[in-house]
Symmetry: C2
Subunit: 205 residues, 2 copies
Amino acid sequence: MSQTQTQRTEATRHKILMAAFAEFYKNSFQGGSINQIVEAAGITKGALFHHFAGKQELGYAVLDEIIGPILQDRWLTPLANSQDPITDLKLAFRRYIKADIDTGHFNQGCPLNNLAQEMSPLDEGFHQRIDKLYDSWRKTYAAAFTRGIKAGKVRKSVSPRSVATLVVASQMGIWGTGKSSRSKQLMTQAGDAVCEYLDNLKPRP
Amino acid sequence: MSQTQTQRTEATRHKILMAAFAEFYKNSFQGGSINQIVEAAGITKGALFHHFAGKQELGYAVLDEIIGPILQDRWLTPLANSQDPITDLKLAFRRYIKADIDTGHFNQGCPLNNLAQEMSPLDEGFHQRIDKLYDSWRKTYAAAFTRGIKAGKVRKSVSPRSVATLVVASQMGIWGTGKSSRSKQLMTQAGDAVCEYLDNLKPRP
DNA sequence: TGACATACATACCAACTGGTCTGTATCTTA
DNA sequence: TAAGATACAGACCAGTTGGTATGTATGTCA
């Protein structure tokens, strides 16, 4: 059951990526230390710089290979074919707010938003990648609202794009509130308010 | 018309604070450089460390003496005695979204939120100061909504605290969206959506 | 006017930063 | 099996970081 060389190589690369993700999540990108990543991953600088051209490229890879898939998994796939986005969004909100409170992650915020706020204005590569992710996020929600309208689950007067933009922005804000206040109560309160907002988008009887 | 010593002293202190605010706003707190601040302020390290015990204390002072008053001025005072928070909030949103788009500040985000996202989880002094500011922010909105309900301008069924929490969170998200996307359109779109949300809080006829 | 404090200026420092360079063991492939 | 490529290891480096120690000019006040 010994692994092949390619498997071992991929394993160290993955170790580095995971350690980098954790370090950047905890100490931000600029504040995060390469030495710390090396140590946490249990490898050496030689390995790190063999796999990634520099800190910048490592950051890009974390976005592409770790954060992107998480976003997909958490928020895009569940809404991808939804005919009733209000119900499904409320479900996802409740679920992941609870999850992040239980794990304690809520006071570290959203990994994507963290990088976005820190690096988007400073680095073009970050900006492009992050913008792309947020764009697909908004588009997924907007498409779901469009289907919801067609299915009679969402009021016709709502603008899918505007609402999608606001809902995504609200998520940034809710997770940001959790991070800066460290208050579970505030975070759930904000979550409840969003759910109420969403309910108000249903067709009036 | 020569100034007194106290005036000159206060002037250099203020120069340092302004330069620090600009530097932290542009490059974040951890990313911001003391040397850069010294240079931008046109003073020396001796002066800086004479007035502030360290980078940390300088950051605290920026929060207390620069960012706090800006928050007060922009968002708290205008709502302090409002009997019609929906109208007044919509006004403020439209006004300052436009202002930050015109000045180009919109792609640097909100100074308070920037520091909050970066430093709240890392430093207790930052956390406390920031939390206090956000708390007064939410409380001001909540009180305005309470008065709005009494004045018949806001539907009775809304929870002032929940809505206030969400509105503040939305602001974090809207300015965050502007910063990470650099898109004026997205920012105004999100602003419009918030205004619609607020309108839906009016009493139904 | 003399003593002392305040308000800086400047040279300096240890610690750490991201990054490079060279050496080498291991695997692949002709 | 020889030759080359791959995948690291680890010492090393220049630059920058926040911070300090010392010196000095200028103000204040008894």
